[in-house]
Assembly symmetry: C2
Homo-oligomer: 256 residues x 2
């Protein structure tokens, strides 16, 4: 528990003056560019700047904020890296407010994985949680377009298997499309966030065991049929088998 700032446990050394130390507030200027970032970000969050809004040009922002162009540019870089603005060059160019994409968030999560903040085993388990939760929603909401897209990926997978050109991308794409079938963009985003780390660890595991055989493909096709029929329980059990095999491969146990 932090002690109150004014309390001094050392009575032998009294405060130099009668004024309490509290009257001095912490004075840290911080970074000017950060202040600008906050200001624009708040404007966007408050809805006073909507996607498509054009911000003033760099040189005008300098005048408005009373800072140099370098400072404004640094602020714009940060906003651009956050996916909040898009910067175009040429006349009639300049910073434009844009809606951030889910890919950018996924990239951030990928960084978390690669920096070994957590392991491939953790990711696999998280994916299991997500995908099993997806199943009932997908059974309920999948439409013809979703099923067609899933089938198309299976066809491409079969072709790739026959030609020996299979890559883990195809498997992760199937699972992303499955998440899309929930018609919930937040869930799609989470699934896509885990896509790249998954594919990465699958590729690593491939050296130890074949990444997907006819069995895995058949499970994908069975899953489509179960979803088409709306049989959530059947779909779930198929998915459990499928994921368990994947998990054991990730864990370094090439049972298949």
């Amino acid at each position: 528990m932090p002690k109150p700032f004014v309390a001094d446990e050392h009575p032998a050394r009294p405060a130099r003056s009668a004024a309490p130390a509290d009257i001095f507030s912490r004075v840290s200027a911080g970074r000017i560019s950060e202040v600008i970032v906050e200001q624009i970000r708040d404007l966007i969050r408050q809805g006073r700047l909507v996607p498509g809004s054009r911000l003033p040009a760099e040189r005008e922002l300098c005048d408005r904020f009373g800072v140099s162009r370098v400072t404004v540019r640094e602020a714009l870089r940060v906003l651009e890296a956050s996916g909040l603005v898009d910067i175009r060059i040429g006349v009639r160019g300049g910073p434009v407010v844009t809606a951030p994409s889910t890919d950018r968030v996924g990239e951030g999560i990928t960084d978390l994985v690669t920096m070994s903040v957590f392991s491939a085993v953790d990711v696999t388990e998280a994916r299991r949680v997500l995908e099993l939760g997806v199943i009932p929603l997908a059974c309920e909401r999948a439409d013809a377009a979703d099923l067609a897209a899933l089938t198309e990926v299976c066809d491409r997978t079969q072709e790739a298997l026959e030609q020996g050109t299979y890559r883990a991308d195809l498997s992760s794409e199937f699972h992303c499309l499955l998440a899309d079938a929930t018609h919930n963009k937040a869930i799609s985003m989470l699934a896509r966030s885990l896509r790249e780390p998954m594919a990465m660890s699958l590729d690593e595991a491939r050296t130890a065991a074949p990444i997907m055989g006819a069995k895995g493909l058949q499970e994908h096709r069975d899953l489509i049929e179960a979803i088409r029929a709306g049989e959530a329980d059947a779909a779930r059990s198929i998915m459990v088998d499928h994921l368990d095999r994947t998990a054991s491969r990730i864990a370094g146990d090439p049972t298949e």
Copy 2:
């Protein structure tokens, strides 16, 4: 489907020379600072720079890359905004590689929500998927420390309710701690990612209905006991009730 680059549908205007256009690679330099960002980011992803590594000072990076200091600074800003480096000032300061935090990812997701890339309803449903998947894992793995932390939050919540100082933070903190009880950092990350958007929408909904009454708190406490006993099914049904009430409140139906 994108057309091959060499194909020209306009036979009336043949290529100026016999050399195929393919031999000329795209020359647009793009942004120099972006090249530097990529280079450092790759170094980090390859593990050649680990968290804690100190990068050279700005002025030395200028010499190494052969660019001006402003360019280096912009690159460092982007890396900093991505949470990959931390910049300290003063002697022995400079850029230090750091492990990105889950909070940053959550902030990105918050932006996605506020820019209405997806809705609060979507987030709520995603959270439901996640939390129901968390339950069995938490029942299996929660240790005494997890249960103590959960109980402590309930106590704080009770106190806040009695004093009228309750905020949605407390509820979202409970659910984050629940995710922590799985001892899976990827799942914790996903839960924390959804924390801020959830709290935001809960605060919005608070104007229409009390955010959490004694009933919600009691459900939290019941949940702890069910987890302590390892009764996953009981815990699951409690959580379903709890989330359904929350979902209806988000959807604008103040039944409670």
